[in-house]
Symmetry: C2
Subunit: 302 residues, 2 copies
DNA sequence: ATGTTTAATAGGTAAAACTTATAAAGATTT
DNA sequence: AAATCTTTATAAGTTTTACCTATTAAACAT
């Protein structure tokens, strides 16, 4: 039994005439006779009582078309669904992000994506960089927002932007006067300052420490937190200083606002969307990357 | 899209391995790869994320097999239904019969048929011979129980039995003494008797009159009824005499019982099952004819 | 490193679905 | 009543396609 045969049978039942049905099906009439005969032989049942003048359904035929209609409907539904997915009218992307990036970048990207592809589900998953890499490598997420360098060799990535890293100090701090300074502050000036940083496992902690080391000193860590917001609040309260990605500063609206000062060396981190090397990227995932890139350049390049 | 491809895809999804799936499908592995590729190309969607070591469903693939399973189930159901019909485990026969035959023959046939083919619906339709012929010729019934000769030329028939015609007289009638007589009574002896017959349109009325005429007299009709039972009751009550098909006499159990006497010429009528000439007979209808014949010979031939 | 197992590709064959041409049977028209 | 039109079925030939075997390329295990 073939779908073609179901379709042919339905058409014959509708037209009650082989020649007309064949025309509508864009095949020659003999093909139709052949296919129906073959089907009837296979089923062991006559579907139509026919002679040269009339074509009418048998009991078996009536039962057949009833079922056949349901089947063809289901096939049409399947086809429609596949078409929706390929046209990005449906789908699902699981995205992993670091808490820092997730809360400060995605709020701009997700609405744009939802508008462009309203029927694609987006699932969000926050974790530390290290865990995200493992998850993505194992297929737990389709994409992850990370910053270079990556540890997992099975991951590949697309860069989506450079993020300048600024210094954050308490308002009453001597360096606070450099806020508007075009040159900014040199990292070396911070070697005796008390540092507040993120806890281990978070990518940005490692970046902060690496920057200090490359400036020739080991940072004096006086406090650690899992939350970059907490870190900033502590800084604003005068507990110490820290480095922060610039994107985060902008969205800070709370009571305790530190002073953000550019660093003279303009250090930066590269944000990437990482995914499994060699793995097929779903169209939904591809669309997400595209939206992400265009949204960010639109927002931050100007 | 082909049913074959749905089946193949389901098998791959089950095995998550092309070679093993190909084995189970009894095809070579390259065929499976080809068919899946072709399907994916047609749909514009990758169904499986695969490399040499792993085969896993994509989002689209998961959605596909969900639909595909339903479709294959429906196809299986259709196949089963057609098989049931061809194996006579389902179907429907519409049978027409004359009131005489219907009430006296079918009660023996229908139970046997129901037992042999419990899931075939039987619809019964009683009418006069003439109307039945028209109905059957027009497709209103699949089969009709009639007696020869038929008027409609588009009908053909299968004989199912000869039915002897007896004379029925009141118990106090002079001829009643011939009840046990081996030779019976000659039709000619009835030429001055008052006849009670069926009304016009009923086949047996015509037969009765024709028999009298061929015996050389016109019957003296003193009463007419649509119902053979009424006719017999009137005879038993002494209102006149009549001719009756022998099968009917046997089932008479009421108060008013006429005396049945064989006729010396042993006239008979041929009962037939009639159906449209050249028309495809459903297996259910064929089965009914078969059951009818075997039931009657079993009952009356001994 | 080597051997094994995986899916994909290439080339050839056989099945089958399609085509055109024609026949047979009813219905319709002259 | 003969002829014509219209219907489905059959025959023969062509094209498409699903399949096979052989082979390749990549990943994994030993």
């Amino acid at each position: 039994m073939e779908l073609r045969q179901l379709q042919y049978t339905l058409q014959i039942a509708e037209e009650r005439n082989f020649s007309r049905a064949a025309d509508k099906l864009h095949i020659a009439q003999p093909s139709l006779s052949q296919q129906l005969s073959k089907l009837e032989r296979e089923l062991g049942v006559k579907l139509f009582q026919r002679n040269t003048s009339t074509v009418e359904l048998t009991y078996a035929g009536a039962s057949f078309i009833e079922h056949a209609r349901k089947i063809m409907d289901a096939v049409e539904q399947l086809r429609q669904e596949m078409d929706d997915i390929s046209q990005l009218r449906a789908g699902r992307v699981v995205i992993g992000s670091m808490p820092i990036t997730g809360s400060h970048l995605l709020p701009y990207v997700l609405p744009a994506f939802k508008e462009a592809y309203p029927d694609i589900q987006v699932a969000l998953l926050e974790d530390t960089s290290l865990n995200l890499e493992k998850l993505t490598a194992g297929g737990g997420t389709d994409l992850s927002l990370l910053s270079l360098p990556l540890q997992e060799p099975t991951l590949t990535y697309e860069p989506i932007g450079e993020e300048i890293i600024d210094l954050a100090v308490p308002p009453q701090h001597p360096l606070a006067s450099f806020e508007a300074s075009p040159g900014g502050v040199a990292l070396e000036q911070l070697k005796d300052e008390p540092f507040i940083v993120l806890k281990k496992g978070q990518g940005f902690r490692k970046l902060t420490i690496d920057l200090c080391r490359s400036a020739g000193f080991e940072p004096n860590i006086v406090f650690e937190s899992n939350n970059i917001e907490t870190v900033q609040s502590l800084v604003a309260a005068g507990m110490g200083i820290t480095l922060v990605p610039r994107f985060i500063a902008r969205s800070k609206r709370s009571e305790l606002i530190p002073v953000y000062i550019p660093l003279s060396s303009s250090p930066s981190r590269t944000l990437v969307i990482a995914y499994r090397r060699g793995r097929y990227l779903s169209k939904a995932a591809e669309a997400f990357i595209e939206t992400f890139k265009s949204t960010l350049t639109q927002r931050y390049s100007s």
